[in-house]
């Protein structure tokens, strides 16, 4: 067994280990890839096989693969597998490869019997021993990590080496990133350079310049720290910078270069004793305060204390209450008697050498003087960062919800930017999705129908029907009314199954365990049943529906969530009430009406294409799938599909995610996303 735990040969505990092995075999909990709804759609009865659904990889010991899977999903699955605690196993059902994952412990066909057999085998393997003397380590390309250093406050600062953040001086924190990450961070280049405060001087450059001048190395954060040799600042650990050299580095247009510029003409003054000036940084002999650097530009705002030290010619004094009162000398306002305040005529406020970094024109900071050098300003740190709706910047987290998140469709990635418990922004995507069946050239019409059906495992019948209709229109052949009736009834059955699966998912999300179970069971019974069976099941389905309608607090819980704007492109199940509650009741209603639609049908079967011969032409068709209106435009050439344009409801609906969940509480946001019933299979990857 690949994922076994390590043990020593025939240890003292081996009888206990046997018992533990057998117990573990009784407690299989699985993480379904891509998601439980696909297992349901494939007719896998997990509870019957004794498999519990795990909340996340950490709680799973079986990775159940419903094949075939897209490459991206497999990559995500390999990460999930690595997170699973040992003993862990892979169970692959269906056909397809799953290369980054280890060899499957059990395989089988994608049927309930296949699952039963495979689970039995898993249990046997588990019971025989979850302990092995030699275990293999699992490795996958997605797990290769590279250590990066990033600033906890400024995530855009990324560096390959430890050091300090050039923006705030905090120590960079090691962070692991995947080497396979296909989206290199857009700010990589810029920040890499920036994160190495002028100190990224190569040793060659050192050799070249070292003897030119009396080299002084200064800490970019603590101007008072100077040294004759390169090294780290004793206060903050940053690399010391050679002031002159930093000029050469084009990237550091922020504080450092300004700093270096001023170095030449710099004077250092004590903020308390203007008469103390020095050409070098240091502390005041009178009071011990750090000398502050004064330049022409910066001197002016050091009003009360150091304004006399340098250029005050442009200074004006004005009354804070009466801006029209302007004077050349300090004094009182003739109107209100308040002390006049100095007005700087210079816009470049780079006078705060003490704090050593650029303020980006933060007016709040100007006027704060006497900050200790090296003091890390919170105002600066929070300046420019996004503001929360409540005005407080709590820890912002970006958390992935998906691709295998309980309560959301598997394969759908939802990356939420969270501000406390509030969603600020969402990024959605799909790890599985539309592939053009025609990418290898034209397909025979019947093959196209089959291919489209396979691509949409969550709504096979609807999309088969869509393809059939479009091709029939193109071929100018039409199905007989009987076939049409069967098709509609079959679509109705799929709608019931799809909505039941959605209900099960909603039950899982909201913690309604009974609903989750019952809806899943009914789905399994309905999804491939004949009309008579469905007729027999009708009371049970109706009972679930009325129970759901009566569940106290459920519709109230949903009513406040997911209100769509009137203009929204929503064409899924809907009622007069355009909230999650409305969509919920609409789905319940659709189940009830669909049950009636099936009543008249003689038999149900997946739509097959009428014979169109070698027709040529164009056809357009629309089908109301369980998730909304799908349309297909198709071009036929002598009986073969040469091009097709498919529009699925999820493509439109996914655009609603962001407006629905912004500034909502996390719990509400997830319910809102679930209420849209997105199918990742219908999305472009």
């Amino acid at each position: 067994m690949i994922g076994a735990r390590e043990t020593t040969e025939g240890g003292f505990f081996s009888p206990l280990q046997n018992i533990i092995s057998r117990a573990t075999a009784q407690r299989l909990s699985c993480l379904v890839v891509p998601g439980p709804e696909l297992a349901l759609a494939s007719g896998l009865d997990l509870p019957a096989a004794g498999l519990a659904l795990a909340a996340g990889p950490r709680q799973a010991n079986v990775l159940l693969l419903v094949l075939p899977l897209s490459e991206k999903l497999l990559t995500a699955a390999s990460i999930a597998y690595a997170q699973m605690p040992r003993p862990r196993m892979v169970l692959a059902l269906g056909e397809g490869t799953f290369s980054p994952l280890p060899e499957a412990d059990a395989t089988g066909p994608l049927t309930s019997e296949g699952l039963m057999e495979a689970t039995k085998k898993l249990r046997q393997i588990m019971a025989e021993g979850i302990f092995a003397t030699k275990i293999d380590d699992y490795d996958a390309p997605a797990l290769q990590t590279r250590i990066e250093y990033t600033c906890p406050m400024h995530p855009e600062v990324v560096s390959d080496e430890p050091g300090s953040c050039p923006k705030c001086g905090m120590f960079l924190v090691p962070k692991e990133t995947s080497t396979t990450s296909d989206t290199p961070s857009p700010h990589d280049h810029a920040t890499m350079a920036a994160s190495r405060p002028a100190a990224s001087v190569s040793s060659a450059e050192f050799a070249h310049t070292a003897d030119d001048n009396v080299a002084k190395y200064v800490c970019p954060m603590h101007p008072e720290v100077t040294s004759d040799a390169p090294g780290n600042c004793p206060k903050c650990g940053m690399n010391l910078v050679k002031p002159d050299e930093s000029e050469g580095h084009g990237h550091h247009t922020h504080s450092h270069s300004a700093h270096a510029d001023s170095e030449k003409t710099a004077k250092y003054v004590c903020p308390m004793h203007p008469e103390v000036t020095s050409n070098e940084p240091g502390s005041c002999p009178k009071c011990g305060m750090f000398l502050e650097e004064v330049t022409k530009a910066g001197g002016e705002e050091q009003h009360d204390h150091s304004s006399h030290a340098s250029g005050k010619e442009a200074a004006k004094y004005t009354c804070p209450m009466h801006p029209e009162v302007i004077s050349d000398s300090p004094g009182q306002c003739p109107k209100c008697g308040m002390n006049l305040e100095q007005q700087t005529t210079d816009d470049e406020h780079d006078g705060h050498q003490s704090s050593g970094h650029d303020h980006g024109g933060n007016a709040l900071l100007d006027g704060l003087i006497g900050l200790e050098p090296g003091f890390m300003s919170m105002i600066e740190m929070t300046d420019g960062t996004p503001r929360s709706s409540n005005g407080l910047q709590m820890e912002w987290i970006t958390a992935p919800f998906g691709p295998f998140f309980p309560g959301l469709p598997g394969g759908l990635t939802l990356e939420l930017e969270l501000d406390g418990d509030t969603v600020v922004e969402a990024k959605t995507g799909s790890l599985t999705g539309l592939q053009d069946p025609l990418k290898n050239g034209p397909l025979a019409a019947a093959d196209y129908v089959a291919a489209l059906g396979v691509q949409m495992p969550l709504a096979t019948i609807a999309y088969r029907l869509l393809a059939c209709r479009a091709i029939e229109v193109a071929g100018n052949t039409f199905a007989t009314p009987e076939i049409k009736a069967i098709r509609m009834a079959t679509l109705a059955r799929e709608r019931i199954a799809s909505h039941l699966s959605w209900l099960s998912q909603l039950g899982r999300q909201l913690g309604l365990k009974a609903v989750e179970r019952e809806a899943a069971t009914l789905h399994l019974l309905v999804h491939a049943a004949d009309p008579a069976t469905i007729q027999a099941l009708e009371p049970r389905v109706k009972k679930l529906l009325s129970k759901l309608r009566r569940t106290w607090f459920l519709s109230r819980r949903l009513a406040t969530v997911g209100a769509l704007p009137a203009s929204a492109a929503w064409d899924g199940p809907t009622s007069h009430d355009n909230t999650a509650a409305g969509r919920f009741t609409a789905r319940l209603d659709e189940i009830a009406t669909s049950l009636n639609e099936i009543k008249g049908a003689s038999s149900l079967s997946a739509p097959t294409l009428a014979d169109i011969g070698t027709a040529t032409g164009e056809g357009h068709a629309e089908v109301q799938t369980p998730r909304g209106l799908a349309s297909l435009h198709i071009k036929l050439e002598s009986g073969k599909v040469v091009s097709a344009t498919l529009k699925t409801p999820s493509m439109r609906h996914i655009k609603l995610v962001n407006p629905l969940i912004e500034q909502r509480e996390l719990a509400d946001a997830l319910v809102a996303v679930a209420s849209l019933d997105l199918s990742p299979w219908e999305l472009n990857t």
Binding site: I20, S21, P87, I130, A399, D421, G511
Partner: protein, 299 residues
Amino acid sequence: MSAVLLILALTVGVYAVAVLEDWASHNRLRLLGPVISTLALLGQESVLHRKNDRLFFETAPILLLVGALLSLAIIPLAPGLIVTDLATGALFFNAALAYVLVALIMAGWGPDGAYGMIGGWRFLGQLIAYAMLVVMPITTVAMRAESLSTITIVESQAQLWNIVYQPLGFVLFAIAGMAMAFVPPFDLPNAEGELAGGVEAEYTGVRRMVFRLGRMVLILSVASATTVFYLGGWLGPWLPDWAWSAIKILAVTALMLAGGRMLPRVREGTLLAWAWKLGIPLALVNIFLVGVLVLVVPL
């Protein structure tokens, strides 16, 4: 002797709660379930998240367990069958369970995962909602008993159980107690569908077992407290004292666990709104009513 009995009672009680919890979430009564689950967790690897606050991560499950166990110390199963009869018992119950919050915050913070952290902080919000509703009904119970000692509180109900004497307090306390033990629908910190396990998300193996154990003890403790404060503790005809205690405690546990699965999880904002706009005024009314009753109808 009584020490042995108490440990035995605790073991049986926790086991029963575990069976009941399994029943509530899987709808199957598996008597051997907890044993098998425990063994399976023993065999599981205890994964340590790579970037963690290890001190918090390791301490949290233990703190949860210790807090819950301490709160059980003041629960009398029968006269004389109590760990310690503190003069401040009812207050001590609250003090010990306040550390559940600390444990959950530590558990959420420790592993440096988003789900856990949100879960931990959420429980702080939940505490703001339930804390007053736990303390204020206990106040009225103590008012009637004229004592904070749990033994005296049970004895004060000899003639009439508090559930009849102050039904409003009972309802408030039971709901707040469920929120305190974070059973559904108040399972905000470890919600499966919302946070993929929340504070429990990163725990595996033995640590997870301790965490689950702490949770079971916590549920048992809240159920026992409900019994002691409102259902007359060991009082009852025919059966021996301890049997009445056991029956009542398990019945309360079963009701709490079963009630939860009928309802969708409450969202935090709603919970706070209910607690402060409805719960606390009601609790104040309850204090006033019971105050009048105690003076007028000395029962």
